[in-house]
């Protein structure tokens, strides 16, 4: 198997520009800038079937082509490195171990969309990532890969690193733009989409860190090569972040379309302490749960959608049979209640209400009517809000209630389910 985004991770000092250059670094950028037109770059990425790896899976080349050519305003590339989706920790490693892969991807992307300024919005807690990227940008400047007249061409590019201030919602692309502009992180009404009215009112492409790290290899080795690494309509590999009750948690770069069973049992070493699997979140906390009978699902955007869940950010959270699903649902609900931006009434009021409701059920204070009402209350949030946060609350919490209803019933009828005693009390 050929590695793409993690190819340099095992090399000592992989984050240094000299190491990166030794391993064909910046050759893709040179190729794009000196031998290709912007349109050719976009076509190459389109043909590679590269899809947005932040979670939405939107075709990357297509997104770039939405940037209007006749708009006299400056164009911007914004890199989403907020990585707030619980269970996701891939961008962190790219930023720490291979920051030049991102910079090279940004040079090529900016060239393709006609942008001369890129912003990288990084999760506030990722101090090491920020430091590594900042020094990598400095190195790239010294080599003439950033700044004025890159690699002797007439192409200019500056990159600004922005540290986030700790809000999950700022991973939503328009909330990220608001935050980047210095405002409160509230998702914007759409349309207009960022490609037309984005950062500071200018046409803007927003891509995830991992997505852009794939761009260099695609240009260097060709669309065909990249596309065939993955599966149909979903080219290349992606980094799966496996956490929870497995023997070897961590990041695994594997082809799109690898089965969930293979990831958990072959790569992540199976379930911890030989216990049985109970449920898996396949793509970050917002992706609906899968149960052991669904383990043969292929891990790509389309197959997971067909299975009623989503590929999301590639964060696989494994729960074994010692897990109380009411407790797990309560933790998820608490997260949403804490992170709702508070803009739309259904999400603002609903997420807190759902949390308090599940919390009561968990503590054995639930009434049968609460369990009867819960799916309806949760269901009324999704589809009725400005951004996808509301949909996430509905999808995520509904899947716990639907698939593990008997555990909720046990909490209501018998005040506990036999699994809870070992869980710690959660604060608030």
């Amino acid at each position: 198997m050929q590695k793409v985004t993690t190819r340099n991770f095992d090399t000592p000092n992989s984050f240094r520009i000299d190491t990166y250059i030794k391993n064909q670094g910046y050759e893709a950028a040179r190729k794009a800038l000196t031998q290709m037109t912007p349109a050719q770059v976009i076509d190459e990425v389109k043909n590679a079937n590269l899809r947005g790896l932040g979670g939405a899976g939107f075709a990357t080349g297509m997104k770039w082509s939405f940037i209007p050519k006749d708009n006299p305003k400056p164009k911007y590339l914004v890199v989403n490195g907020d990585e707030g989706e619980p269970g996701t920790f891939k961008d962190k490693y790219i930023l720490e171990l291979d920051p030049h892969a991102l910079i090279e991807g940004m040079i090529i992307t900016c060239y393709a969309i006609g942008s001369h300024k890129g912003y990288v919005y990084i999760r506030g807690e990722y101090l090491k990532s920020i430091e590594r990227l900042r020094s990598a940008i400095q190195e790239a400047h010294q080599k003439g890969f950033l700044g004025k007249g890159i690699m002797g061409t007439s192409f200019d590019l500056e990159i600004v690193v922005h540290q986030g201030a700790g809000a999950y919602i700022c991973g939503e692309e328009t909330a990220l733009l608001e935050s980047l502009e210095g405002k409160k992180g509230f998702p914007r009404l759409k349309p207009p989409f960022p490609a037309v009215v984005g950062l500071f009112g200018c046409p803007t492409v927003i891509n995830n860190v991992e997505t852009l790290a794939c761009v260099g290899p695609i240009i260097l080795k060709g669309a065909q090569w990249y596309a065939q690494l993955g599966c149909e309509k979903n080219g290349g590999n992606r980094i799966f972040c496996v956490s929870g009750h497995v023997n070897k948690p961590g990041i695994y770069e594997l082809p799109n379309g690898t089965t969930l069973r293979e990831i958990i049992y072959q790569h992540a070493g199976g379930i911890l302490n030989g216990r049985q699997l109970k449920a898996v979140i396949p793509g970050g906390i917002s992706a609906p749960l899968l149960t052991p009978d669904q383990l043969d699902v292929k891990m790509d955007f389309d197959s997971l959608k067909a299975a009623g869940t989503m590929a999301g950010s590639g964060g696989i959270i494994v729960m074994d049979d010692s897990t109380c699903m009411v407790w797990a649902a309560m933790i998820a609900a608490r997260f949403y209640a804490h992170e709702s931006c508070g803009q739309c009434s259904p999400c603002r009021e609903g997420s807190g209400w759902v949390y308090r409701n599940i919390k009561r059920i968990y503590h054995g204070e639930g009434r049968p009517v609460d369990l009867k009402n819960l799916p309806g209350i949760v269901g009324n949030i999704g589809g009725n809000t400005i951004c996808a946060f509301g949909d996430a609350v509905t999808m995520c919490i509904s899947s716990y209630v639907q698939k593990f209803r008997h555990e909720f019933e046990a909490h209501v009828n018998e005040e506990k389910c036999g699994l809870c005693s070992k869980h710690q009390e959660v604060a608030n």
């Binding site: 809000a167 009434s345 259904p346 609903g350 997420s351 009324n380 009725n384």
Partner: protein, 526 residues
């Protein structure tokens, strides 16, 4: 122009129109909290979600532009169900303290819930506790965070209309709270408007709080007389309890929509100016500090005028009067009695003004007075007063002015020394009237019909909200009594009759009628 169907009714509207606006044209009112036509769209309350055919999700009517062939259903089951759920969410952390809330009766939460609510509450959990309940956030407004539905109308108002940025939403999720920015107060010339646009009881007016339940209020359309802008207003008066001595009739003023004048807004000074309607009024005719009958007072006025040559009578009229009053002044004194010393322009210092609504000229009808009186008069009021000071005037007839405040006491003392009869006709007691020989009580703007002409030369109607206090009478009515006493039947029987006559006498007003002026006013002919 896209054509669309809303609730089975077809309509064609300009491109860019939103569903909520198109529906309004059809007379369909889609519920709204955050949407306000004068503010940028925020789209956060979600109460205006409506079903649009071929769209998987409901769309917010306040933001979604119409499209050719669009089919909108504002009363479909899906739409109504969602409306219910949005209301349910909005009340999750709301205290439902309607019995002690001043907004009750004009609260959109109450109104929509009566129509769309699900009356069996599903909530058993404890509500989120917010920090501020009934807390002052400025000189005029009280904040109750529990009642706030975070629609951000007030925030957008202070951001985009007054550009004073005092308000914001702090914190996140269901702990979000509306508040003033730390270190600031909601203190600007237009802060009262946030109370009007607040759809719930979160922002209430300190001046109005607990004074009167809104369903006891009579509402009369009017125009603010506070400056020459002539902002359209509504007088809200207590209709339940008949006036007893020392009890105010007017409870509050509200702005009335006029896109050409004040849009939805009213300045604080205008808003709280209503107190002069009931306070400090001149209630009865007086002669030499004694209450007298109207008959006796009019007799005295008539004989003073009759016994003095026209050249020795001075009339200090006022731009506080309506067009009709001013026309009565002109008709009686200029046209009939041939008095030439008639003017209204006293030496008034310009007041505060800005580039929004507040004008420096604090008279509501300077433009009207100019059109009606000035074209005939060669001299201004100050020149007439100078004459009086020099002893060239025997009878001085002053309409409401406080000459002492305008010209200083020494000047007025000189006038008092030389003038035989000072007649003062006005609404509100001031220092000057104590020096008048005859005092005639006149009606305030809320007590009469009429028109003002504002700074844009827009003629605007005022309507009588209630009868004049005690024995006060409309100015034109008093002048008619004087005319009759002097043997002239000038047929000044109603303000509409006077206006009608004026339209032929003053070319600027030609072809106008009360009906044509309507509620939004009419610009004079240039």
């Amino acid at each position: 122009m896209p054509k669309l169907t809303i609730d089975g009714k077809e309509i064609e509207v300009p491109a860019g129109t939103t569903i909520i606006q198109a529906a309004e044209k059809l007379g369909i009112n889609i519920p709204r909290y955050c949407y306000h036509p004068a503010l940028p769209v925020s789209g956060n309350c979600r109460i205006c979600l409506v079903e649009v055919e071929k769209q998987p999700k409901l769309q917010i009517a306040c933001y979604t532009p119409v499209a050719e062939g669009m089919v909108v259903k504002t009363t479909s089951q899906k739409t109504l169900d969602t409306r219910k759920t949005v209301l349910e969410f909005l009340l999750v952390n709301h205290p439902v303290d309607c019995p002690v809330c001043d907004q009750a009766g004009e609260c959109k939460l109450q109104d929509y819930y009566m129509e769309h609510g699900q009356y069996n509450s599903r909530l058993v959990d404890v509500k989120v506790k917010k920090h501020k309940k009934a807390v002052s956030i400025g000189p005029t407004v009280m904040l109750d965070q529990e009642r706030c539905i975070l629609c951000t109308r007030c925030v957008r108002y202070t951001d985009s209309i007054t550009k004073t940025n005092e308000l914001g939403v702090f914190n996140r999720g269901d702990h979000s709270e509306l508040d003033v920015v730390p270190g600031m107060q909601l203190d600007n010339k237009y802060s009262g408007n946030v109370v009007d646009i607040c759809p719930v009881g979160a922002l209430t007016d300190k001046d109005f709080r607990f004074k009167c339940r809104v369903w006891y209020l009579g509402q009369t359309k009017s125009v603010c007389p506070g400056c020459s802008m002539g902002c359209n207003s509504e007088i809200h008066w207590d209709k339940q309890r008949p006036r007893v001595e020392k009890t105010a009739r007017v409870m509050r003023l509200k702005p009335r929509l006029n896109p050409e004048v004040n849009n939805y807004w009213l300045c604080d000074e205008g808003r709280y100016s209503y107190k002069s309607i009931d306070e400090n009024r001149v209630l009865y005719p007086q002669m030499n500090n004694e209450l007298v009958s109207w008959e006796k007072a009019i007799d005295a006025v008539a004989s003073a005028i009759k016994n003095s040559p026209a050249s020795k009578v001075g009339i200090i009229s006022s731009a506080q009067l309506t067009n009709e009053d001013l026309y009565a002044v002109r008709k009686l004194f200029k046209d009939t009695l041939k008095i030439s010393n008639v003017d209204f322009q006293v030496a008034q210092k310009p007041g505060y003004s800005d580039d929004f609504l507040i004008k420096a000229d604090k008279n509501p009808n300077t433009a009207g007075a100019k059109l009606i009186l000035q074209s005939l008069s060669g001299q201004d009021a100050t020149q007439i007063l100078e004459k009086a000071k020099r002893g060239e005037i025997e009878v001085l007839y002053v309409f409401g002015h406080d000459l002492i405040a305008l010209y200083g006491k020494p000047m007025v003392m000189e006038i008092v020394k030389h003038v035989k009869t000072i007649i003062w006709q006005g609404t509100t007691v001031n220092e000057t009237c104590s020096y008048a020989h005859i005092i005639l009580p006149s009606a305030v703007y809320a007590e009469k019909d009429g028109t003002f002409t504002n700074v844009q030369k827009r003629v605007q109607r005022i309507w009588q909200a209630f009868l004049p206090l005690a024995e006060a009478k409309a100015d034109w009515n008093i002048l008619n009594m004087i005319a009759k006493k002097l043997g002239h039947d000038l047929k000044m029987e109603s303000s509409e009759g006077l206006f009608c006559e004026m339209t032929s006498a003053v070319p600027a007003f030609s072809e106008m009628t009360y009906e044509k002026i309507g509620e939004q006013g009419m610009i004079v002919k240039s």
